[in-house]
Amino acid sequence: MAQLNKTEIGAFLAKQGILIAFAAFMIGFALANQRFIELDNVFGVIRSSAILGVMALGVTFVVIGGNLDLSVGSMMSFSTIVVLDLHDKLGPGLAILAMFALTLALGAFIGFLVGYLKLNSLIVTLGMLSAIHGLTLTWSGGKNMDIADKSGTWFSVFGQERVMGIPVPILIFALLAVALSLLLSKTPFGRKVYAVGGNGQAATFSGIPRARVVFLTYIVSAFCVATAGLLQASRSLGSQNTVGQGMELEVLAAVILGGASLMGGAGTVFKTVIGVLILGFIQNGLLLVGLDFYVQYIVTWIIIILAVWLDVAAKRGRLWSPIA
């Protein structure tokens, strides 16, 4: 009986472990510093996590579909630079449209390579990380992109304004999270993503167009990247070419922390959001208690290992791996 209880506790921990860890962190930091849970601070954290979060939403689709996307950081800097450059040439509305179109085209290219040509996604997106960075530099000529008239454009609304007291980036993040969560969990397309990631061959045998589904996950990812680029550009109205660089691994860390399996077929949008928030609040909490930013690296290391370990331990029913 005792053993049964232990496994039950284990299963519960593994299923909700990430939420429990999140709660424990929040309580701990709140006790350490009152300011941590003040509304302003909470808004601040979510707002600065929004860009990472929006990208993580898209990568969640790719990962559940059984692939990886290491190009999102590079692609986000492309989006940001392009929309800023076009803002002064085409006006904000057209610039946003054009930027989304170009980013989606990049996503489509990757989706084509991974989906239809069935190339390994790790290597393809690794190559694209480098190639898109080259593209961005070519576009900008290596210069910073700045909107000339910073106060006279409505473009700043996405990154800087508030609606009903809530910062717009948070609203966009939340809206996108809800919409994508519905797309993933409630629609036929979402079901197919799980099927393709869970067992691509079985999905094909079930009449699911695997290549198209994989292709579409990269389109979703590119759409999220474009949105992130929009938030980024609107937030600062100007940018360097290096913006977003290195974010791909942070994004992946958030997705993994949320419990998406790299083997594909498992994960949810909601849990990814939790993963993003954990990273954001840890960063903020450690700063508030006066620790240097790099302490968060070490904390993140430990948390990711523990979270994923709990998850696999629950699935196999024992804590330690059976590998001899």
């Binding site: 900008s140 910073n144 100007g238 360097q240 070419n241 913006v243």
Partner: protein
């Protein structure tokens, strides 16, 4: 000691220089990280333009992409290609010293540009051409202090600093100049904290967001360049705080605009075009056997909202 070394250098380069002048001279440059910000990009363009304007000069332009290993490899490549002079914009002021020594041993004069290498390497370089970053730091401290005095808060103000990339000589010197000068002019202003912003607007914005979380009362921000300063300004705007005095360095177009808009108080005017042309000219002078000062500074004046009309808007 310094004098003898320079004499020796002048002699060797004079011999080389006359030989090279007959044909054309080939000058190789390895830059830090082009494309990381506008300053470096503008510098590269200006450098190439200046070289093209001179029929006697051919240039090999390389970019280390911020990677020390790649920069060292590029210095080796330039030595191997037997260029007449090497200009280096160090990615790391110390790590490139052995590579610079190698060039020196191959009798290729080295000019360090923009950001100096550490003192241990002074024996191997012909000249440094660039801004005087210590002076820039002190001038920024003076700008900040003067403004506080105008506002009457020179006895209570608390400020934060966002420095450049750690290990980068420019960053170290600007911070040192600022930190040394500030207590001399405004002894009661407290520097609450310094964090690096890595010359990166986004990073600076994050650092500033963290400062705003930590400190309720911030009166001033000193940023190692305007790029970071504007990042910090964005953070402050987003948080809805105001009344903070921003002082930067290397006046960027965005900084200039922010000054025009009244959001940003002052900076140091430094042109990448001057920087690039000075570096190339220094190398040419050395190859022509002319005597150049070891530390070849170009002037970088103060710029604030009060006197900005005297300056044209930076092109980068």
């Amino acid at each position: 000691m310094n004098l003898t070394r320079k004499m020796a250098l002048a002699c060797t380069t004079a011999v080389l220089g006359t030989a090279a002048a007959a044909e054309t001279m080939t000058i190789g440059i390895t830059q830090n990280n082009v494309g990381v910000d506008s300053y470096q990009t503008t510098y590269e363009k200006a450098f190439i333009a200046a070289a093209e304007a001179d029929p006697d000069v051919e240039v090999v332009v390389l970019d280390a992409g911020g990677d020390v290993a790649r920069q060292i490899a590029q210095v080796e490549d330039l030595i191997q290609q037997e260029v007449d002079a090497i200009i280096i914009w160090p990615t790391n002021g110390e790590a490139v010293i052995p590579a610079v020594r190698k060039a020196h041993q191959a009798d290729i004069p080295v000019v360090v540009t923009n950001s100096n290498i550490a003192e241990a390497g002074f024996d191997f370089i012909a000249s440094f051409s660039g801004p005087d970053n210590i002076t820039q730091g002190s001038r920024a401290a003076e700008i900040m202090c003067d403004k506080f005095k105008d506002m009457g808060i020179e006895d209570e103000a608390g400020i934060v600093q966002i420095s450049g990339q750690p290990g980068y000589t420019t960053a170290i010197e600007r911070a040192k100049g600022f930190e040394d000068r500030l207590p001399e002019v405004c002894p009661n202003v407290t520097l609450m904290e310094t964090q690096p912003g890595d010359w990166n607007r986004e990073k600076a914005q994050q650092v500033m967001e963290a400062f705003l979380v930590k400190y309720d009362d911030i009166d001033g921000v000193y940023a190692g360049d305007d790029n970071m300063g504007v990042g910090a300004l964005n953070a402050v705007k987003a948080a809805g705080r105001d009344g903070i005095i921003f002082v930067g360095a290397t006046n960027f177009a965005v900084g200039y605009e922010a000054m025009a808009a009244g959001d940003y108080w002052g900076s140091i005017y430094q042109s990448p075009v001057d920087d690039a042309e000075a570096a190339l000219q220094t190398a040419i002078d050395i190859l022509n056997g002319e005597d150049v000062p070891f530390l070849n500074y170009f002037d970088t004046p103060k710029i604030t909202q009060d006197n900005m009309g005297e300056f044209t808007k930076p092109v980068f």
